[in-house]
Each structure stands twice: as C-alpha cells, then as structure tokens.
C-alpha cells in the first residue's frame, strides 16, 4: 500500500471518529496514544480528570494501536492535513520526529502560552534524551522506563543459590549454570534483545553506540557496537545459548511470556514489566529485582530510558494549542506525576515526584519500583549514556536483532554477526542522513 492510499484511509477514520460533539462548545484536543489494557485505562483517567477540572477544553484520548501503528497514524493524518494535536511516540521515533519539521516543540509551546514549567526538575536522563542540543525540551516526557533484572526466588532456592540478584555478568553466568543443573528450563533470558542487551549494555558501561555522540551532535551514520565490548557481551550470550543457560525468547517483548509463566530463573526487561509480573505471579511464585548486571573491566555509565513522550503536531488552531499547553501543565504537576508513576510503575520523571513518592511511603509498599530509580541514580551520565538518537531507529534495531539471532543460533560468530549488523545499520543510517543533508 502506498502512503496516499493510507492517508485516504486514515483521513476517513479521522473524519469518522473525530467529529466534534456538538453538545459541547469546548475546544477539542485529539490525543493519540499506544497504551493498552490497564495502562490505556489510566490514560483515559488522566484525560477525564483534566476534562472535569475545567470546561474550556476536552481532551479526547484515542488508542491507535502499537507504537509503530500510532506513529504511522499520526504521519498519515498529518500528511492528509487532518489536525491532530498530541501523539505519543516511542523513544526510537525521537529522531524521526525531531527531523520532521512537523512538530511544535514543547518548550516553545509553553513559552508561547505563558505556562511556566520547571524543566530542571526533570531527572537528567529524561531531560537529556528529549532535549535539543541547546537544552530545549522538544516533547513532553510521559512514560519512561529502564531495564532492570528480575529473578525467580523459588528457582534460586531450588538451585541452592542465595536470595540475592546477580550483580555481574560473571555471576549471571555461574548462577544460570547452577539453575540449569537444578532443572530450570529457562535459566536466563531477556526481552527486548537489542534495547536491553546491546543498547543499554553499551550505555551502562560507558561505551559508544553510534558516532556523533550517539546521534546527539548530529545525525549518526556509523554504529559502534562491533567493538571489543560488544563482541565480549555477545560472545558470552552465544556461549550461554550453546551451553543452554541462556534461552533466547524472541524479538520485542516476546520473551516476557517465559518469565510470566514462571519458567525463568534470571530475566532482564523493562521496569514497566513489574505490574504484569506481580499480577501473573500472584500465589504462584516469589520474585525479586535488582540492578542490571555489570561486565567487569569496563567503566560505569548509566542505563538509558525507553518508553514514550508526547509530541505536539503542527497544523492546529491557536486556541487548540492553548488547550494543549493547559493539559501539559496539568500533567506536569507533581501530584499528577506521582499518581501516574504510582499507578503505572513507570519511572518518576521529576526529582520532586520521586521525593513525593518516597515521602508517601509508596516505595515501602512497592519496593521493586524503586530498583530502577536506585539504578539510575547510581549511574553516571556521560556522552555515551544520555541516550541514543538514530534516524530509522526501528529498522536499525531490527537489523541488530536479526543478527543477534544468527549469533545465538551459532550461524555466525559474535564478531561476524555484529559486523553484519553494523554494515546493514550504516546503510539505513546513511539513507536517513541523506534525506536531511
């Protein structure tokens, strides 16, 4: 299908769903998001609470499918000149949005409407990721998470291991080997293979992921993941796959099904998985969390954030943008931030939110939610750990995961697989750079 055909379809969908209700004179604001299930309900809660708090604006929260589907819907709507105001875009879409010229930068929007928000209160990994080089925030931070480590306490007991998460990759390997001997089907596994095991591991050990300071100083055109660190990391995982202590569970978050089923001993995935695991494990097995394991001999960096932010699209009317600014102001209040982080398990985005959650005793009741906060606070923000900004990042991630599979299956050596991933990614990155030369 081509983009015009798609635009027609989306335009039709917009016309069908987006007709303003005539009973209210309030200005309508379209907010497209990708949150499903419980998270989707929480998004509706925020919109409803904001709508109830004033009468001038109505925020319509509309679920548009997965993150890529939501982004595609926004692109099609924008190209079809159908106004849409706020769209939730995942972190891999950041560079695409920044380059597009289709967005109204959030710092500008707030300044234009005289709404003061203390952006310096944002925790630095979040602020760094979504700000331009000049330190201006381009999109509204919304849901951020970072990978952490989970472990299955019952399996640990069975294998005679202490009730403590492994702090290093050496420990992961030796513990996973013991778990395997004890008959655990999935001694170690990880969801989001590229995000956790490649992107985050590079940042966490202060290793560069791409040139131009991971794309922050200009469009990146070369990946750096085939260096000594990347190869060492992949060689260990390839060994794990071969010896049976690492169970590869598929791309994206597919592997989470293994942990949810209680099969894994050690598992790494997003901190946003806590809620799901808590629900799935209730009455079945006990688990704990810990910071990501470290690889000995490499410096300290920090884990990077995933999740999404809210982008404001150009092409709307002035009064609508006034409403968007008011909605963001409402979102940014510490009270609402603390509520959102508390009910969803996403990272608190500002320092005052973290303090408020601490003061309210939230972390005493939900100790696992603190793991990610502690991990990020313990890290060091360096040029390599502030985040990764790549054009066509989704394709790059795909190229990496494709080769990870070739490495784990033994079809290629770690070095060969990473070299191939870099070659394909560079081709993708150069295409993007050529667009915006």
């Amino acid at each position: 299908m081509t983009r015009s055909a798609l635009s027609v379809l989306v335009a039709a969908a917009v016309v069908l769903t987006g007709v303003p209700s005539t009973s209210r004179a309030a200005t309508e604001i379209q907010f497209w998001h990708a949150m499903t299930a419980v998270l989707g309900e929480r998004v509706n809660d925020i919109a409803n609470k904001f709508n109830a708090s004033q009468s001038e604006y109505v925020v319509k929260a509309v679920h548009k499918g997965s993150y890529p589907e939501t982004l595609n819907a926004a692109i099609a709507a924008y190209r079809a000149k159908q106004p849409l105001h706020i769209v939730q875009v995942f972190e891999v879409g950041t560079q695409t949005m920044l380059s597009s010229g289709a967005v109204y930068p959030v710092y500008q929007l707030m300044k234009d409407h005289g709404v003061a928000i203390d952006w310096n209160d944002l925790i630095s990994p979040v602020k760094g990721y979504y700000s331009s080089t000049g330190g201006n925030l381009y999109s509204m931070p919304f849901n951020s998470s970072t990978p952490i480590l989970y472990y299955h306490k019952d399996h640990f007991k069975k294998a005679g291991l202490p009730d403590k998460p492994p702090a290093t990759w050496d420990a992961v390997e030796s513990m996973a080997r013991k778990l395997k001997t004890a008959g655990v089907k999935c001694p170690f596994s990880s969801a989001w293979p590229s995000w956790v095991l490649v992107e985050n591991m590079h940042a966490y050990h202060d290793q560069p992921f791409a040139d131009n300071r991971n794309g922050f100083d200009g469009l990146a055109t070369t990946l750096k993941i085939n260096g000594p660190f990347g190869v060492k990391m992949m060689e260990r995982l390839a060994r794990g796959a071969k010896d049976g202590w690492f169970t590869y569970g598929g791309r994206l978050n597919k592997a989470e099904a293994l942990m949810t089923a209680g099969e894994c001993g050690i598992f790494t995935t997003s901190s946003a998985y806590i809620g799901n695991l808590a629900r799935a494990s209730e009455g079945k097995f006990a688990w704990g969390t810990g910071p990501l394991p470290r690889l000995a001999g490499f410096p300290q960096g920090n884990s990077i954030i995933g999740g999404a932010t809210l982008w404001v699209m150009r092409g709307g009317k002035p009064e609508e943008y006034k409403g968007v600014a008011q909605f963001f102001k409402y979102l940014a209040s510490t009270e609402n931030q603390a509520w959102w982080a508390g009910v969803t398990g996403y990272l608190p985005l500002t320092n005052s939110t973290a303090k408020a959650l601490e003061a309210s005793g939230h972390y005493v009741k939900n100790p696992h939610q603190k793991t990610a906060v502690v991990q990020m606070n313990a890290g060091k923000t360096t040029p390599n750990s502030q985040g990764i900004r790549l054009g066509n990042f989704n394709s790059v991630r795909d190229a990496i995961e494709e080769q990870m599979e070739n490495i784990f299956s033994g079809n290629k050596t770690a070095k060969q697989g990473l070299d191939d991933a870099v070659a394909k990614s560079n081709d993708i990155l150069k295409e993007f750079a050529a667009l915006y030369r």
Binding site: R3, I75, R251, S395, D398, F408, L435, Y436
Partner: protein
C-alpha cells in the same frame, strides 16, 4: 454460448462501473503511486522528497539479503502450493467416496478456511511454542533435538509452511470436491470394466480431468503464499530468526511501515508486482497448454 443483449448501450458500462472504480482506487492508483514513490528518497512526514532515479533499486539489488528473500519467497510459495494441493487432492478423493457421515466430514474439512491468517498463526504458535507448545512437548519424548524456531530457521520456515497449507486447505478441498463431482461416473466405470485399478483410474482419468481446477488453484495458491501469508508471518515469526522467514511482502511492509523508509519500500513493492505479473504470465503461457477444459 448465448449472447446477452442490453437494449440500453450504457447499461453494461454502468453495471461494471463500480467494479472498475474499485479497481482504480484500490489497485491502479496505489500501484502507480508506488511506481512514482520508488524513484524517490522520501521522509516519513513528507517534508523531504528527493528524486534519486533508480537509487532505491540499485540499493536493493546490491543487497544479498534481498536475493535471499526472493529465493525464500519462491521456494516457500512453491512448497506451500504443491504440498497444499497434494494434501487437498488426496483428502478430496477420500471425501468424495461414498461413506456414512460424509456431510459432517466435508464441513469439518472446510472449516480452516474460515479462519483469518493471523488467527491461524496464533493457533499454530501455541501448538509449536518452544516453551509451552504441545508439539515440542510431545517431540521431547522422542528426541533430544530442540525444535526452537526462535533460533532455528528451518523449523520456523516449516512451521509457516504447515500453517499456510492448513489455512488454505479448506479452500483447495472445496474446489477439488466440486471438480471430482463433475467427473462423469460412466468414464470411471468404463475404465473399471477395462480392468484399471483405483490408482490407474486416478492418474489416467481423474487427474487429467481435474487439470483446469489444479491450474486455477495453483495460480491462486501461489498468489496466496506470496501475499496473504503476511498475517501468518507477522503473528508468528516476524520474519526471523535472522531473515529465515522474511518473504518479499513481509520485507516490503517492514521497511515501509516499521522502518518508515517509504521510497525503499515502494521499490520493493514494484519489484514484487513485476514478479507476480511475470509468474502469472508464465503460468498462463505454459501451464495452460497442458490443461484440458
């Protein structure tokens, strides 16, 4: 054949107009737009559109992964088609026999066709899942071999082939059953009288008489395997492991909608379109000669 005559000369055109309009809007327009877009480097939001001539095509043809994808698609489609038709013909012959409860069997056999490819994918995903699937569990009693299609390309491909064949099975069966019932009983009886056994009767009479149906189904199944298995692959393997199940249509979708490389994706769909046109033309040109209507 009798000729239908319309009194109003415009009426026939008016009657076909809706169909033509649909073809133009949903086929010709997108197809020409892809053709145009394939010559450009296009940004996702449409703010940049740089003419690069055959740039997207040279990028594609310089990528060995693309040729792997072409080979995978052709091999996959051929296996799905041949296996699918063989199984359907075999079971149709059996279902055509005079046995009790035939109506029930036929209905049951037709069922899989009513299932969407993505749903079929999910069903097979549960059957095959390396951790909680039924089949790997049963196989673990027989062999120590790990049928993990998250990592083993041939297992993933086999899984997709089986699911695709199963999905298309009901459709093929329906046509073969209809074809079998159209074969006059007297011809088969005459052959029996001449001393031909069931196997001989099948290959000397039934199979040649079914050739129009086989030809029709062959073309249709090839197209199905080329395009409509998308939902299946998307639900189960996402083109992996590595690029083992990355058939052309999946690649084009992934680069376009997941990766937002629109011009590059358009170039892939243009090649795909040419390939399918060529394939169909070859089938009509050579295969049709062997068909007896």
């Amino acid at each position: 054949m009798s000729r239908a005559v319309f009194r109003n000369p415009w009426l026939p055109y008016a009657l076909v107009a809706p169909q033509i309009a649909i073809t133009i809007v949903f086929f010709f327009w997108p197809a020409f737009d892809s053709l145009r877009l394939s010559l450009y480097r296009a940004s996702p939001f449409g703010d940049r559109l740089i003419f690069i001539g055959g740039g997207n095509f040279t990028r594609l043809l310089g990528d060995p992964a693309y040729f792997r994808s072409v080979a995978t698609s052709l091999g996959f489609s051929l296996v799905v088609t041949v296996a699918g038709l063989a199984v359907a013909l075999l079971l149709a012959s059996l279902a055509n026999a005079r046995i009790r409860g035939l109506a029930v069997y036929r209905t049951l056999l037709l069922w899989p066709y009513g299932i969407a490819p993505a749903v079929a994918g999910v069903i097979w995903l549960f059957v095959f899942h390396p951790s909680f699937g039924v089949l790997p569990y049963l196989l673990s009693f027989v062999t120590d071999y790990q049928f993990n299609w998250f990592l083993k390309g041939w297992v993933a491909l086999t899984l997709i082939v089986i699911a695709a064949v199963w999905k298309q099975f009901g459709y093929n069966l329906a046509f073969y059953l209809a074809g079998l019932q159209a074969i006059p009983g007297s011809v088969l009886e005459a052959a029996s009288v001449d001393g031909a056994g069931p196997v001989r009767r099948f290959f000397a009479i039934t199979f040649p008489l079914l050739s129009p149906v086989t030809f029709f189904l062959f073309t249709l199944n090839m197209t199905f395997a080329f395009f409509e298995t998308f939902g299946l692959i998307h639900a189960v393997t996402q083109g992996g492991p590595g690029d083992a199940t990355s058939i052309l249509v999946y690649r084009a979708w992934k680069d376009g909608f997941d990766g937002l490389q629109l011009g590059y994706s358009a170039a892939q769909s243009v090649i795909l379109m040419l390939l399918v046109i060529a394939l169909t033309a070859v089938q009509f040109r050579y295969a049709e000669k062997k068909v007896t209507y």
